[in-house]
């Protein structure tokens, strides 16, 4: 038990160090900007006085190290500063949008993970059958599709040709959960199609890997049904890579929503990030990048810890 706790703490420490370095990169990315940030934002027509006043307001006349510490300090306390484009506090912009993004990612994950596991187990069970071949070809294809292609095909079929689902996923807090789920159906399906292939292939591959081991042969020889062999004997030992790939895909979901959010005009963090990039609203981009990167690192961390827990051999590396 102690070793598990120690391992978790070690990983957590590593994660925090990574996050710290990432924050340093995100902060210093702005420092390498050629020219002056204030001048860049105000444009060439700004008078030297306004530029000086703006520099004062942004705190640009302090040395970078001081500003970095102040920036990181207020980030940790949940104060993300103000948007350069409209002066609104960033935390106000971000809070609702981030929970929307998490909602969509969780929604897609709830569909994708059980679906991928079932399909993967079935493909391993009936491998080299027509089912396996079709699954193989269709997953290979779905990896090859750009997300916006899948999204627009879904829009064409489900909202233009037969108006089953809305093509705009504009949800708000006042809506009931079922209304929200209904409106975000198409983005969730798009994301599901994007991530299911990878998870399903990994499930199939890691189960087939275990099928050659003697204990599976033993289970078979004592007359167990193939489905039982796979679910009770092969699956538990194939779990480590599967958990890993699921967590990686969840991390991908949180980030991959960016394109999908833009297609469906979903009020999430990704949409805000893309808007801010085209407006060159650097403070918002920094804050959003940090949140995305933090979530990504956290999910990777969880993947690491879970896959070690599911395979005790990894706890004692030789």
């Amino acid at each position: 038990m102690n070793s598990i706790l120690l391992m978790t703490l070690k990983r957590l420490g590593l994660g925090i160090i990574t996050l710290f370095i990432v924050s340093l990169i995100i902060f210093s990315a702005v420092e390498i900007l050629p020219g002056d940030l204030a001048q860049e934002i105000l444009g060439q027509s700004a008078t030297p006085e306004t530029v000086a006043a703006f520099r004062q307001e942004l705190g640009l006349n302090q040395p970078p190290v001081t500003r970095y510490i102040a920036w990181l300090g207020s980030m940790v306390q949940g104060d993300f500063g103000h948007s350069l484009a409209n002066g609104r506090p960033i935390s106000e912009l971000i809070t609702a949008r981030f929970s929307n993004t998490l909602f969509l990612a969780a929604y897609a994950a709830l569909i994708a993970v059980p679906l991928a596991l079932t399909l993967g187990v079935l493909a391993a069970l009936y491998r080299n059958s027509w089912f396996d071949r079709i699954a193989n070809i269709s997953t290979l294809s779905s990896i090859s599709f750009p997300e916006f292609f899948i999204a627009y095909i879904l829009i064409l079929f489900f909202s233009v040709n037969n108006s089953l689902f809305p093509s705009l996923a504009n949800i708000s807090v006042e809506m009931s959960l079922s209304e929200q789920l209904y409106r975000t159906m198409l983005p969730a399906i798009t994301l599901t199609l994007v991530v299911v292939a990878h998870m399903m292939r990994m499930t199939r591959a890691s189960i087939i890997n275990v099928l050659a081991s003697p204990y599976v042969e033993m289970a078979r020889m004592k007359g167990m049904s193939p489905a039982r062999v796979i679910v009770f004997h092969a699956l538990p030992n194939a779990l480590a890579p599967i958990i890993n790939v699921i967590a990686l895909n969840l991390a991908y979901l949180v980030v991959g929503v960016v394109v999908v959010e833009v297609v469906f005009v979903y009020p999430g963090l990704g949409q805000l990030l893309v808007d801010s990039v085209s407006k060159r609203d650097i403070t918002v981009v920094q804050a959003a990048s940090l949140i995305f990167a933090g979530t990504f690192i956290l999910l990777n961390l969880i993947a690491d810890i879970l896959s070690i827990l599911s395979n005790p051999r990894l706890l004692n590396p030789r």
């Binding site: 990432v22 290979l140 990896i143 627009y152």
Partner: protein, 276 residues
Amino acid sequence: MFSLLSSLRQAPISAQFGVLIILLYLIAMIFAPVLAPYGETDILGDAFEPWSSTYLLGTDSLGRDMLSRIIYGARNTVGIALATTLLAFVVGGLLGIVAAVLGGFVDQILSRLVDVLMAIPALIFALLILTIVGTSTSSLILVIATLDSTRVFRLARSVAQTVVVMDYVEAARYRGEGLWWIIRYEILPNVSSPLIAEFGLRFCFVFLFISALSFLGLGTQPPLADWGSMVRDNATLITFGDITPLIPASAIALLTIAINFVVDWKLHNASGLKDE
């Protein structure tokens, strides 16, 4: 040449299909000015004209011929992705091999740097950098090649590490050969085949990635024809049940599928697996 053709004849049908599609794309890239009925950026008619005999696939949001832009798009979209992947392989592959050969301090520095870069999701990092350096074709290629070279670095380093411990490399070192000689004549020939197989997969990834950026309006800049931004510019047509904007998107999908089929076949061959 002949052996290539005969091995292709024995390939599964999906791989043959893939090779055919890739050839078609190459033809479209090379002969774009001949194949396209109109110029890349010529404004010809009204916006969003329907399919007709003059404009086979109609016109886009500015009245430019869709078909011509799709054909020219092959040059820009595929060309930029190819340049990016090549750059990523030269930088990442070389640094990975150097890290494996030198080991120690250099290896530690490079590997930790790559670890940090890979800890940030690629799309987010690309968006952050593009905010700062602005979106131009050259900065797009540089930024994405840098991000992608981290993946190539990992592969090249791990493959090269298995070669570095070989006796012939040690012999070359005792002979007093220089770093570049060892890389060029001892390591490179032995690591090239896994790197080439990886090239197809990385190209698909880069290609989709750049298309996504262009779709977000942050990749290839107008007036260059590009499949990702063509989808974005004409997306409104979909709400009227017009499938024209899906054509550039399917052009992206088709090429990626074709490459995946070929890579799948090559990997299957290389792994020496026999079908059960």
